[in-house]
Every structure is written in C-alpha cells, then in structure tokens.
C-alpha cells in the first residue's frame, strides 16, 4: 500500500515536471514543425498543428531571401568564430598574466578590464559607432567581431585567471628546471591544463556573439553583411507588412540549431562558465 502511494506520488511529480518541460520546448517544437509545412499551410488561419505533407518549400524560399540565407549564416559564423578566437587568445594571455606575475599597476589594469563587465555597452554604443565608423570598421565582420570581443574579454579573463591560479605552481617550476622558457612553458605545459577553461570561454563567446542583435543592427547597414538575428527581424518587418511565417520559421530553425547543438554537447562547460562569470564578477 505504502509502496503504491510512493509510486503514485513519483509519477505525479514526473507529470508536473513533464508539463513544465513541454511549456519550455513547445515553442521550438511547433516552430520546427511549422517550418516543414507547405508555405500556404504555414500561414493558415486558424493554425493547424501537424503538416499535411512534409515540405522543404520554406527552407528553399528562405535560401533565396535577400542575399540568401547562406550568406547571413556565413556572416554570423564568421563574426562568431572570429570573436571566439580573439576572446580566447586575449583571455588566456591576460588570465595567465594576472594569475602568475607581479607588475606595476596590476590592480588598475585589472579594474580597467572588469569595468567592461560593469558598464553596459548599450550605453556607449553611440560613440562606439562613431569611433568604428572613423576607423572604417563599420560594415565589416571583423569590426563587429572586435566589438563582440570587448564584451567577452572581462569574464574570459576572470575564468582564465581562476583556471591558471588553480594549477599548482610546482608543475611550472619543474618545467622551468627542465629548461622551458616562458613561451614554451605557456604552450606546452599550461595550455593543455587550461583547456577546459578555454572551451568555456570559447563556447560562451561564440553563442553570445551568434545571438547578439543591437550592435549588429547598428554596425551593419549593408544587407549583404547582416547577421542572422537582424535578417530575421527584417523578415518580420517585411516591406509589404505581411509576414511569411513559414519562411521566418525556417530561418529561426537554422539560426537556433548551431547554438543548441553546441550547448547540448558542451552543456556543463557552458553552464559553469555562465555562473562563474556572473557570480565571481
């Protein structure tokens, strides 16, 4: 009797958990299903749930929207990848320097970097635009990646500083005695030990810049250089006022899948990075 009651309670809990999970996943799920309907059916009113036939019409249309979905996907990929590489490089070097060396103005320099985390970049975007424009870096994926990198450096440095601090000094000393110079030490001894931290910084940099909207909206005025979020929001405010929902959904699916896959594969690193980045800041 008691056992049955416990089992009943357990299944009741699962039901509640499952219903909540459904609320979180349903929007994605239906969006994905909708993107596979024929175009007319995707915009039908009232909406239908399941497609009558599976069709890739929306994806095909999306592929030729504006400069073509591939172009926007490529832009997002390039901007996010460049951001990832630059953020990891700057965070690793700075994290190592702050964790292991003494030098004048150390605290002041650290403060300058942390400042970018405290001050919202949204509020300096006006002069930043003017500055980038002056440097000829607006309408440039590299310029956009530079802006994104600034936003990642602070917490990347924090994470890498903590990573390097937790590596025992003895390992480094042993390598030194074996005749490693500073650069070789960094590359051959420290880097492998710091890999988990680097993955965290890299994946967060990638996902954040892949999703970023405001800077991309402002810094890119050439349609062929838009990133996915901006292009999708343009479909929404399309020229004729009416929205092609199936097409939009196809775009949304393409825009979300890379982040989701990255997240599902590297879940623990991503979450530990998010929490340490915010808690220790």
């Amino acid at each position: 009797m008691r056992k049955r009651k416990a089992a009943l309670r357990e299944s009741g809990m699962h039901l509640i958990f499952l219903l909540i999970a459904l609320a979180f996943v349903f929007p994605f799920l239906w969006s994905a299903v909708n993107s596979l309907k024929p175009a007319a059916e995707a915009s039908a009113s009232p909406p239908t749930f399941l497609p009558s036939v599976v069709s890739f019409q929306n994806f095909a249309k999306m592929g030729s929207y504006g400069a073509g979905l591939g172009v926007y996907f490529f832009n997002s990929l390039v901007a996010a990848s460049m951001t990832m590489i630059m953020s990891v490089f700057l965070s690793v070097t700075a994290g190592y320097g702050f964790a292991r060396f003494r030098f004048p103005f150390k605290n002041a320099m650290f403060l300058v970097i942390i400042l970018t985390m405290v001050l919202p970049f949204q509020t300096i975007i006006t002069p930043l635009f003017f500055f980038m424009n002056w440097l000829g870096l607006t309408n440039s994926l590299f310029g956009l990646a530079l802006v994104y990198t600034v936003l990642q450096v602070a917490f990347g440095t924090l994470i890498m500083r903590n990573t390097f601090s937790s590596i025992p000094l003895e390992i480094e000393e042993a390598a030194r005695i074996d005749g490693c110079n500073s650069a070789a030490l960094m590359l051959k001894v420290m880097m492998p030990l710091a890999t988990p931290g680097m993955i965290t910084v890299g994946i967060i940099a990638f996902i954040n810049s892949w999703n970023e909207f405001l800077a991309s909206l402002i810094f890119m005025s050439k349609e062929s250089l838009f990133t996915l979020p901006v292009m999708l929001s343009n479909i929404r405010t399309g020229p004729y006022g009416s929205i092609d929902w199936g097409e939009l959904q196809a775009g949304l699916i393409v825009a979300t899948i890379p982040c989701m896959v990255l997240f599902l594969v590297l879940q623990r690193r991503y979450i530990s990075g998010l929490t340490s980045g915010s808690v220790k800041g």
Binding site: F17, I20, A21, A23, F24, F26, P27, F28, W30, S31, N34, P46, P47, F89, L90, T93, A94, R100, F101, R102, F103, P104, V112, I113, L115, L119, F121, Q122, T123, I124, I125, T126, P127, F129, F130, F131, L146, T149, V150, V153, L169, N211, E212, F213, L214, L217, I218, V230, L232, S233, R236, W245, L248, Q249, L252, C259, L264, Q267, I271, V279
Partner: protein, 292 residues
C-alpha cells in the same frame, strides 16, 4: 601563487594585449561619449559646440520621461515574476537521484541559449492573432471567444513581452539559484529534520537566509537586464502603440541612429550609465551592510 616575486613592468606583457584592447574599444569610446555629449553632433553635417545644452534638453524630453517610466514599470513587473518562478524551478530540479532530473533541467534551460532576438520572433508568431498558437489554444479551451490582439495595447504588450522574456531567461536565474542551493550542506537540513522542523520551516530558516548572496546577484543581473531592455521591444512591439513601449535604450537608439542626433544620444547614454552605476553601488552597499 606567483612565478616572479619581483614586480617588473616587463611582466605585464601577458596582460597588455587585453588591456590595450579594452582601452581602445571601450575606454576611448567612453571618453568620446563625454565629449560628444557636449555637441550638436550629426552624422553627416559636422558638429557644433553646445556646452551643457543637451543635458538641459533631457529634462524637458517628454518621450524620455515616458520611456523611463515604462522601463521602470517593466522592470518592477518582470523582476519578481522571473525571480519567484526561477526559485520554484530551482527547488524542483534540486532533487538528486530522481530519474530524468538532468533532462528536465536541460529542457528548462534550453531557451537561454537562443538569442533574445530569436525568442522574440518565436513569440511574435505564437501571439499572432491570425496564425498564433496562443489564441488557438485559448479558443479551443473555451477561455476566450475571439482572438486577442496581444501586442496592440500597452498593458497587454507589456505582459506579453514579459511572458516571452520569462520563457527565455528564467532558466538562467534558475541555474544561478540552483548553484546556491547546492552549496548548502545537506547536514543542516538533516539536523533540522531531526529537530522536527517541517520542510517549509527549513526553507524559511535555513535556505533563504543562506541564499542571500545568491539572491542578491540573481536579482541584480535580472534588474540590470530589464533596465537595458531593447531587443524584445524593438522586435515585438516596435514601440507601438503610440510610442508607449519605447524603453530607454530604445529611445537612445532612435535618437542616435534614426534621427542621427548623436550628441544628444550620447548625453542620454551618459546620464543613464551614471544612474545604473549608482544603482549597482547602492545595491552592493545595502547587501554588504546586511552581511555585517
């Protein structure tokens, strides 16, 4: 632990790239912000010195006042909703040993990894009065008779946007709170249980007091995020109806990049920045004071 005990300027070589980078792309624009705010700075026709006149104009800017009120209203509305929901979810997923619990946690967290822009677009569709799921579901449940135009009215828009943002960000707060919950030692709960405390009492007497620090950070991040809201309103409402859903960052954007009043936009940014910074400092002070 340090390698070199002597403090030498040459040792700073590792941090210099990052420091210079930040100075160049963050500190320089920040200083430019101060400078530009003193000018009538247009995109194409040069600029003219105004002194503090941009700042005086802020005082009489009716839309700025409306935007400020709306942003505060949005923040005050959404913060407790996200916080309570996140706390409840965190308590729920903080069971070790339950089957599939990791899977549930992942699913609750999933919307966090997509952009706010992307989530706003999904919600526009869900809330659409013609093709949206929300109306279809409510009608089939006989809760409403005719489709509701969710984004046509200021109050309803606010609630609709808040629901979409809740969906998108609650997982993040949940994870932060979960981290705090898991750092509380299980022994505390066991001894409370032996003393005959109900689980509600131990929640009130153990969990909540020990979680103060985590709560402060979670709330701070959530409040700052709301005060800087842009994407969701730009995409979901476009400021409609009648410019009533324009947030402060949105208004800065419109001034700088639609009207091209870059000087005025800079002045507004700077004042808002100082206000936000003041808020953060105040929050940290209160929180420190409580801890002592």
């Amino acid at each position: 632990m340090l390698i070199a005990n002597r403090s030498r300027i040459a040792n700073s070589i590792y941090v210099l790239p990052a420091v210079l980078f930040v100075v160049f792309f963050f500190i320089v624009p920040l200083c430019m912000c101060v400078y530009m705010s003193l000018f009538n700075w247009t995109m194409f026709q040069g600029h003219r010195f105004l002194g503090l006149r941009n700042y005086f104009s802020l005082l009489t800017d009716a839309q700025l006042r409306k935007s400020l009120e709306f942003t505060l209203l949005y923040t005050v509305f959404i913060t407790p909703v996200i916080f309570v929901a996140a706390f409840v979810l965190a308590l729920m997923v903080n069971r070790r040993g339950m089957l599939l619990i990791g899977l549930y946690r992942t699913m609750y967290f999933l919307p966090v990894v997509i952009g706010l822009g992307t989530s706003s677009l999904i919600w526009i569709w869900l809330l659409d009065d013609r093709v949206g799921a929300m109306n279809a579901i409510l009608i089939s449940l006989k809760m409403i008779r005719d489709p509701v135009i969710w984004l046509g009215h200021t109050g309803l828009s606010l609630v609709s946007v808040a629901v979409s943002v809740l969906w998108k960000t609650v997982g993040f707060s949940m994870i932060l709170i979960l981290g705090g919950l898991q750092s509380i030692s299980g022994e505390l709960y066991e001894s409370a249980k032996m003393d005959g405390c109900s689980s509600f009492t131990s929640l009130r007497r153990i969990t909540i007091p020990l979680m103060r620090r985590t709560f402060a950070i979670t709330l701070l991040l959530s409040v700052i995020g709301s005060l800087l809201a842009f994407d969701q309103f730009y995409i979901m409402t476009g400021g409609r109806p009648a410019n009533s859903t324009i947030t402060v960052v949105y208004w800065i954007y419109l001034n700088s990049f639609q009207k091209f009043h870059l000087g005025y936009g800079s002045a507004m940014s700077l004042v808002y920045l100082v206000a936000l910074l003041g808020f953060c400092i105040l929050q940290f002070r209160t929180f420190k004071y409580q801890e002592d």
